[in-house]
């Protein structure tokens, strides 16, 4: 038993159980302490080696994860398709031919006519009634109004390019 220090004032307390003393009812196995230090040293070195290996592994994983994360962020930030507006993307995606076919239906045409500016119904009405009146109507329009009309006509998706 290792006796490191004795406080002589408290020695009486250590004899609280005089009939029992310091003996223990169990023993260590025979030769237990033989070679224990060398065996423990081997275990300690192995543990340290494993710890260093796992550190290297985790650092590698952390670096790889960081690079992947940055690459992913960069992809989503700078990918060209994603910077365009949804409307244009949608127009590109929608097939034009079927829309034109649908647009030629009489009820759809009537619906569209309701939404165009005031001058266009006059123009369309004139076209339907008397083509000669068209020239008079156009002559009454200002330069600005003519330019607007031309732009609208050009942008009209329901008029084929050959008609334009």
């Amino acid at each position: 038993m290792l006796k490191m220090n004795k406080d002589s004032n408290d020695m009486k307390q250590l004899d609280d159980f005089p009939g029992i003393g310091k003996k223990l009812p169990y023993r260590e196995p025979i030769d237990f302490f033989e070679g224990l230090s060398e065996k423990t040293l081997r275990q300690a070195k192995l543990r340290e080696q494993n710890h260093r290996r796992s550190l290297v592994l985790w650092r590698t994983v952390a670096v790889a994860a960081s690079i992947s994360a940055f690459a992913l962020v960069g992809y989503f930030m700078f990918e060209p398709e994603l910077t365009k507006s949804p409307q244009i993307v949608q127009e590109k995606q929608l097939p034009e031919q079927p829309l034109i076919e649908i647009a030629k239906q009489p009820e759809i045409v009537a619906e569209i006519k309701k939404e165009v500016p005031e001058k266009v119904p006059e123009i369309i009405a004139a076209k339907e009634n008397n083509a000669e009146d068209m020239g008079d109507i156009l002559a009454d329009l200002s330069d600005e109004e003519l330019m607007q009309l031309a732009a609208m006509y050009k942008a009209d998706p329901f008029i084929s390019e050959s008609e334009q």
Binding site: M4, N5, D10, F17, L24, P25, A44, R47
Partner: protein, 182 residues
């Protein structure tokens, strides 16, 4: 172990060139007292062996962190005690196993006048096992290792007055148990 020897051992361990040699010397010096400190707490030899090994592996790996603010043996006892505490937290059935061991010991002791002392030793250990963890540690360090309250305070990170109270209550409970189970 005097302070000069401890300082020499520490300097050997902290030097990478002599770390292994210093560690072997340190362990040869302290393995028995540390083993018995652990064994008195956990009772089972297998558990004590595992904890002893874990204690000295930590000593080897973290020797650089010891700044010499306390004595070497205080530092070693502290690591060993912390490992025992971890063992108690991890193994909820450790007390049941310890009681099984002591009951088996009692059963193995045949009834005779000369062996009454052996039975008394076992009952003494059973009484210590029934103490709360802190009281058990204080009692063992004071009664068996005969450490001063100041040294125990460094190991258990507690005040001297608290430790004196712990020891007093522990002694009373053990005495009471021995009277009831005489």
């Amino acid at each position: 172990m005097n302070e000069t020897s401890d300082a020499l051992l520490l300097s050997l361990i902290k030097n990478p060139a002599s770390k292994d040699k210093g560690f072997l010397q340190l362990m040869d010096t302290y393995k028995k007292p540390i083993y018995w400190h652990i064994r008195r707490l956990v009772v089972s030899h297998e558990d004590a062996e595992d904890i002893l090994q874990e204690t000295f592996i930590n000593v080897y790996r973290f020797a650089d962190s010891f700044k010499g603010e306390s004595k070497v043996f205080t530092w070693l006892y502290r690591i060993a005690t912390n490992e025992c505490t971890k063992h108690f937290r991890k193994n909820k059935n450790w007390l049941k196993n310890a009681e099984l061991i002591t009951n088996k010991m009692l059963g193995d002791i045949s009834v005779s006048d000369t062996e009454n002392s052996e039975a008394m030793l076992v009952k003494f250990q059973q009484a210590i096992l029934r103490l709360p963890e802190k009281q058990r540690m204080v009692f063992n360090l004071r009664y068996y290792d005969e450490l001063s309250y100041e040294e125990i305070a460094q190991i258990l990170d507690s005040s001297v007055n608290t430790l004196k109270t712990n020891y007093h209550y522990a002694s009373e409970k053990i005495r009471q148990y021995l009277i009831e189970h005489a």
